[in-house]
C-alpha cells in the first residue's frame, strides 16, 4: 500500500483483572488502512473494537506489537499521532458541565485552530448536525441522542487527516444518522479524510465502507469489501412460487441453474403454501442474473411463475456463517430490518 494512514503489526492487548485473570481483548491485529478510505470494524459486544481504536489513538499502550498512525509510531511519538487524528469515543465526549457551543469552541482551540477559525467551524458543525437549538444549553440537560450529536461535532472539529469513530451513530435518530453520514462522506470526498469506525449498524458498513473488518474475540476473522464478504460467506437466495403441479419441474430447473452459478447447495427447499401453491427457494450466486434466467427457462417449459423474490444476504448472514452466532443476538441496536435478515422468508402459510 502506497501511503497507509494506519499500519499495525501484531497489536495485542491483555487486561489483567484484580484477581489476576487475563482477558485478551485484542489479539494479533495486523492491518493497513489506505489513505482516503472508509473502513468499518464490525463485531459483537466485547469483540475488542474499542480497545483496538484506543490503542491506535495512543490512549493505552499495546501489550505487544506496534503501529504507525499517519506515519508516526503510537508508542514513540504519541503526541504527533494525536495531532493528526480526530476521535469520537464510545462514551460521551462532551462534558456535562459545559455548554455545547463553549465546548465546541474549546475543542477547536485545543486542536490549534485560531479563535476565528474555531468559531467558523463551530458554526458549520452546529448547522450540519443541527445543534442550533441546543447550542446554549449545558450538556447535562441534553437527551442521549443530542449529546451524541455534540460528541460527533467535537470529533469533527479539527478536520483531521484520519478520523476514528467508535459507534458514532448509536443512539441517533434516522435523520441525525443521515446528517452524520452526509457530513462524514463530504469530508472524505472533499478533503480525503480517512475513516475508521466501529458500528453495530450493518447497513451502514454495507453501504458506506470500502472495507469491512469482522472482529470476534479479539481477532479479525474476515477482512474485505462488504460485497466480497457477502459473496464469499453468504449467497443470494431466490424463491419462486408455482402451483403444486409445477413444483417438480420448477425444482429441477432451479437446481440446474443454481449448480451452473456455482452454488454449494443447489437443491431447492420446498414449502407448500395453503393456496395450492409451492414455494421453492435455493441459494445461488449473482441472484439478479440467475432469477431472470430461471424465469426465462421456466417460461420456455410453460411453467407459470406466480411470485418471485431474491433475498440478498446481509453482513449479518456473513457473521452468522463465520462464527455460527448472530451479530443480531449480541446487539439489538441494528436498524437493518430488511426482510432478508429474517430467515423466515419461507412463505405465508405460517
Amino acid at each position: 500500500m502506497a501511503n497507509p494512514v494506519i499500519s499495525a503489526q501484531g497489536l495485542r492487548k491483555v487486561f489483567r483483572s484484580s484477581r489476576g485473570k487475563e482477558v485478551v481483548a485484542v489479539d494479533e491485529l495486523t492491518m493497513e488502512v489506505e489513505e482516503g478510505t472508509l473502513t468499518a470494524f464490525l463485531g459483537p459486544n466485547g469483540a475488542g473494537k474499542s480497545t483496538s481504536l484506543r490503542m491506535l489513538i495512543t490512549l493505552m499502550p499495546p501489550t505487544a506489537g506496534k503501529a504507525q498512525v499517519c506515519g508516526h509510531s503510537i508508542t514513540d511519538n504519541p503526541g504527533l499521532v494525536r495531532s493528526s487524528i480526530g476521535y469520537v469515543g464510545q462514551k460521551n465526549g462532551v462534558s456535562p458541565y459545559q455548554r455545547v457551543r463553549d465546548e465546541l469552541h474549546s475543542q477547536g482551540l485545543l486542536y490549534g485552530l485560531g479563535r476565528e477559525e474555531s468559531r467558523r467551524r463551530t458554526d458549520e458543525l452546529t448547522d450540519a448536525l443541527q445543534l442550533g437549538e441546543i447550542a446554549h444549553r449545558k450538556a447535562e440537560t441534553l437527551s442521549g441522542g443530542q449529546k451524541r450529536r455534540v460528541d460527533i461535532a467535537l470529533g469533527l472539529m479539527p478536520r483531521p487527516k484520519l478520523l476514528l469513530l467508535d459507534e458514532p451513530s448509536t443512539g441517533l435518530d434516522p435523520q441525525s444518522r443521515a446528517n452524520l453520514w452526509e457530513h462524514i462522506l463530504t469530508m472524505r470526498n472533499r478533503y480525503g479524510t480517512s475513516l475508521l469506525l466501529t458500528t453495530h449498524y450493518l447497513d451502514e458498513a454495507d453501504q458506506f465502507a470500502e472495507r469491512v473488518m469482522v472482529v470476534d474475540r479479539g481477532r479479525v476473522i474476515a477482512d474485505d469489501t462488504a460485497s466480497q464478504l457477502k459473496d464469499t460467506f453468504a449467497g443470494d437466495r431466490i424463491s419462486l412460487t408455482v402451483t403444486n403441479e409445477m413444483a417438480d419441474k420448477t425444482s429441477a430447473t432451479m437446481r440446474r441453474a443454481a449448480a451452473v452459478s456455482g452454488s454449494t447447495e443447489p437443491e431447492p427447499r420446498r414449502t407448500e403454501l395453503a393456496s395450492g401453491c409451492t414455494r421453492l427457494s435455493v441459494a445461488v450466486n449473482h441472484g439478479e442474473y440467475l432469477l431472470a434466467r430461471m424465469i426465462h427457462d421456466l417460461h420456455a417449459e410453460e411453467v407459470n411463475v406466480i411470485a418471485a423474490n431474491i433475498d440478498q444476504p446481509t453482513l449479518d448472514h456473513v457473521f452468522l456463517n463465520l462464527t455460527g452466532r448472530s451479530l443480531r443476538e449480541e446487539s439489538h441496536l441494528s436498524l437493518n430490518t430488511t426482510p432478508a435478515a429474517e430467515p423466515a422468508s419461507e412463505g405465508i402459510s405460517r
Binding site: 484506543r54 489513538i57 495512543t58 490512549l59 493505552m60 503526541g79 504527533l80 494525536r82 495531532s83 493528526s84 487524528i85 476521535y87 469515543g89 464510545q90 462514551k91 460521551n92 465526549g93 462532551v94 462534558s95 456535562p96 458541565y97 459545559q98 455548554r99 463553549d102 465546548e103 474549546s106 475543542q107 482551540l109 485545543l110 486542536y111 490549534g112 485552530l113 477559525e117 467558523r120 467551524r121 458549520e124 448547522d127 450540519a128 449545558k138 460528541d151 467535537l154 470529533g155 479539527p158 478536520r159 483531521p160 487527516k161 443521515a178 446528517n179 452526509e182 457530513h183 463530504t186 469530508m187 472533499r190 478533503y191
Partner: protein, 264 residues
C-alpha cells in the same frame, strides 16, 4: 435540510505550545463559572455562617470587639474556605473521567501537564473572588486589614489553593475505578487538617501532641502568615507561610502531573 458546508482552509493541527495549551484548558474550566457566577455564591454560605457564629462567640469569650476578633478569625475563615472548595474540585474531574469527556481531552494534541496546570490555575479564580467577598463583608463589621499585607496574603492563599487543587485532581484520578474513594479520603482529611491548624480555635495551651501535629500541617503556617499580614507586618510567619504554600504547590504539581499522565 442537510447542510454540509465545510470551510475550505484545511488546517492540520499541530502540537501547540504548552503555554497556549494551559491557557486553553484554563479558559475551558473557567467558562462554566463565568456562565453561572451564582454557583460561587453557594460556596460563600458556609464561611459566612462560621463568621456569623464563631465571630461573636469568640468575641464573647475573649471580651474583645468583633472587629478585633475578626482580625484574628477572618484569616482562618479564608484558609478554611480555600481548603474546602479546592479539595472538592477533583470530583469534577472524576465525573468527567467517568462520563468520558476526559478521554476526549486526553486524545487532543495537548500536553498532559497542561491538562493539569490549566485546571489548577483556574482554582485561583473562585478562591480569590470568595476571599474578596468575605473580606468586604467582614470589613462592614470592623475587620481592618492592612491592604498590602492582605494582597500578599491572597497571593499565598492562591499558591496554597492551587496546590490543594492539584492534589484533589490527583485524588480524583486515583479514584476513577472506585468513585466512593474520593469523598472518603477528602472528608477524612479536611476535618483534622482544619482542626489541627488553629484555623478556628487557638491551639496554644492545648495538649503537646496537638501542637506537634499542627506543626506538620502546612495550613498552620499559612494561617499564621495571614494573621501576621493582615496586621501589617511581614516577618518570619509570612516567610514560613509562603514556604509552606510553595511546598504544597510543588507537591501537588508533581503528584498531579504524574497522575494526569496515567489518567485513562
Amino acid at each position: 435540510m442537510i447542510n454540509t458546508t465545510i470551510s475550505p482552509t484545511t488546517r492540520i493541527s499541530r502540537p501547540s505550545g504548552v503555554l497556549v495549551d494551559i491557557w486553553c484548558v484554563f479558559l475551558r474550566e473557567l467558562r462554566p463559572m463565568l456562565r453561572d457566577p451564582f454557583q460561587l455564591l453557594t460556596s460563600l454560605v458556609q464561611p459566612l455562617i462560621f463568621m456569623a457564629i464563631f465571630g461573636p462567640l469568640l468575641a464573647g469569650v475573649t471580651g474583645e470587639s468583633l472587629g478585633e476578633t475578626y482580625q484574628w478569625f477572618v484569616p482562618g475563615v479564608l484558609v478554611m474556605s480555600t481548603l474546602f472548595s479546592t479539595t472538592m474540585t477533583g470530583s469534577n474531574l472524576l465525573y468527567e473521567i467517568i462520563m468520558g469527556s476526559h478521554e476526549r481531552m486526553m486524545v487532543a494534541p495537548v500536553s498532559r501537564a497542561a491538562l493539569l496546570l490549566g485546571r489548577t490555575l483556574k482554582e485561583m479564580v473562585p478562591l480569590l473572588s470568595q476571599a474578596i467577598v468575605l473580606c468586604s463583608i467582614a470589613a462592614a463589621f470592623g475587620f481592618r486589614p492592612h491592604l498590602p499585607g492582605l494582597l500578599t496574603g491572597f497571593a499565598i492563599l492562591s499558591v496554597l489553593g492551587m496546590g490543594l487543587g492539584a492534589l484533589s485532581y490527583a485524588l480524583g484520578i486515583a479514584s476513577r475505578h472506585q468513585d466512593w474513594l474520593f469523598w472518603a479520603v477528602q472528608q477524612t482529611l479536611i476535618f483534622p487538617l482544619t482542626l489541627l491548624s488553629g484555623l478556628l480555635l487557638p491551639l496554644e495551651g492545648g495538649p503537646r501532641w496537638i501542637e506537634t501535629v499542627s506543626q506538620a500541617n502546612p495550613l498552620t503556617y499559612v494561617v499564621d502568615a495571614l494573621r501576621e499580614l493582615v496586621n501589617g507586618s511581614f516577618g518570619a510567619d509570612t516567610l514560613q507561610g509562603a514556604v509552606a504554600a510553595v511546598v504544597v504547590l510543588a507537591l501537588g504539581l508533581v503528584v498531579g502531573i504524574r497522575a494526569m499522565r496515567r489518567s485513562v
